[in-house]
Symmetry: none
Subunit: 164 residues, 2 copies
DNA sequence: AGTGAAATCACCCAAAAGTATGAGTGATAT
DNA sequence: ATATCACTCATACTTTTGGGTGATTTCACT
């Protein structure tokens, strides 16, 4: 996820851009002089020169940003399968997992009691908090586990080793 | 991630680009003529003109693609972990237990799907029966398992080896 | 002192789950 | 034949669950 090309781009601009300009201008002037001395003077020669220069430098202007500009980022999510073993009964909540999922202590407690088959009201009684609080913890838990129902939360929680 | 601007860009290129070029060239030529007649001839006037033109058209070349082209895309791959658990594919429910509990085949199927986190409606779709039927099976199942909720049924079902 | 996360709780609304009851069908056993 | 049972489905009703919003407090960290 590192995007540290700006320094690179600045370097190119400071070092190479004037050089390119110099080369291009020199080439153009040389071409003009060469044409002047090699051939008879052409009608509207000035306009032709100007047109040619315009075209060449427009092309240069188009080409430069394409090469130098940093691309926009496109995010692609790839699902990586992680296999876990069956948990032993006296499993201690995986602190790493909980942290990674951003699940708080209270949320985990609610999940744990849910998995034991308690209703929200029963969980509220058990934790000495209101039913609303349990529901809030539940909702946040479902968001973090990316599930829709308590049964899914239980199932996923077990698979991830969050609960025994 | 929709990028459907190419038609738009083509239209601009076909209609507006030649116009811009015409205007720019006319302005340049006018400027040159004006300078020619207003002031004394300057040393290296041609080179100055050419430099000015080069600058202007380079700027034009830079500005045009920025406005018109679709941005370059760089793909950033984010790995999202999906937690799976190798499950006994041919898990055989404890027939003895099922018989002892008087749980029918259909009721067991409902229990099994419940334990996977499915809603009653999803179970109904899966089994090609109506939502009411699933509810009936569920109610009967709860009676036989002596539980009040699906979460309790899941918990008890696992403990009794009815489901994997 | 200010910021931010966690925890608490309320209110409202909608959806899902669960209960109760009745009823029709087909297969099977008595 | 008929009684039983699993399965199906419906209607009506209640409870539980879940989503969204917003408020308050506490506590740690800056």
């Amino acid at each position: 996820m590192k995007i540290a090309k700006s320094d690179h781009i600045k370097t190119i601009f400071k070092n190479k851009l004037p050089l390119l300009y110099g080369i291009a201008l020199a080439a153009i002037l040389f071409l003009i002089k060469w044409l002047e001395y090699q051939f008879v003077i052409i009608d509207h020669a000035l306009e032709i020169y100007i047109g040619a220069i315009a075209l060449i430098f427009t092309a240069l202007g188009i080409w430069l940003p394409l090469k130098l500009s940093k691309p926009k980022l496109q995010t692609v999510v790839i699902e990586k399968e992680v296999y876990l073993q069956k948990q032993d009964p006296d499993y201690v909540p995986d602190e790493q997992q909980l942290l990674k999922m951003g699940i708080s202590r209270r949320e985990w407690e609610v999940l744990s009691l849910m998995s034991q088959g308690l209703s929200n009201q029963e969980i509220a009684n058990q934790l000495y908090v209101s039913l609303n609080t349990v529901k809030t913890h539940g909702s946040n838990l479902f968001l973090k586990l990316e599930v829709k129902r308590r049964t899914q939360a239980i199932e996923k929680g077990k698979r991830m080793g969050l609960i025994g």
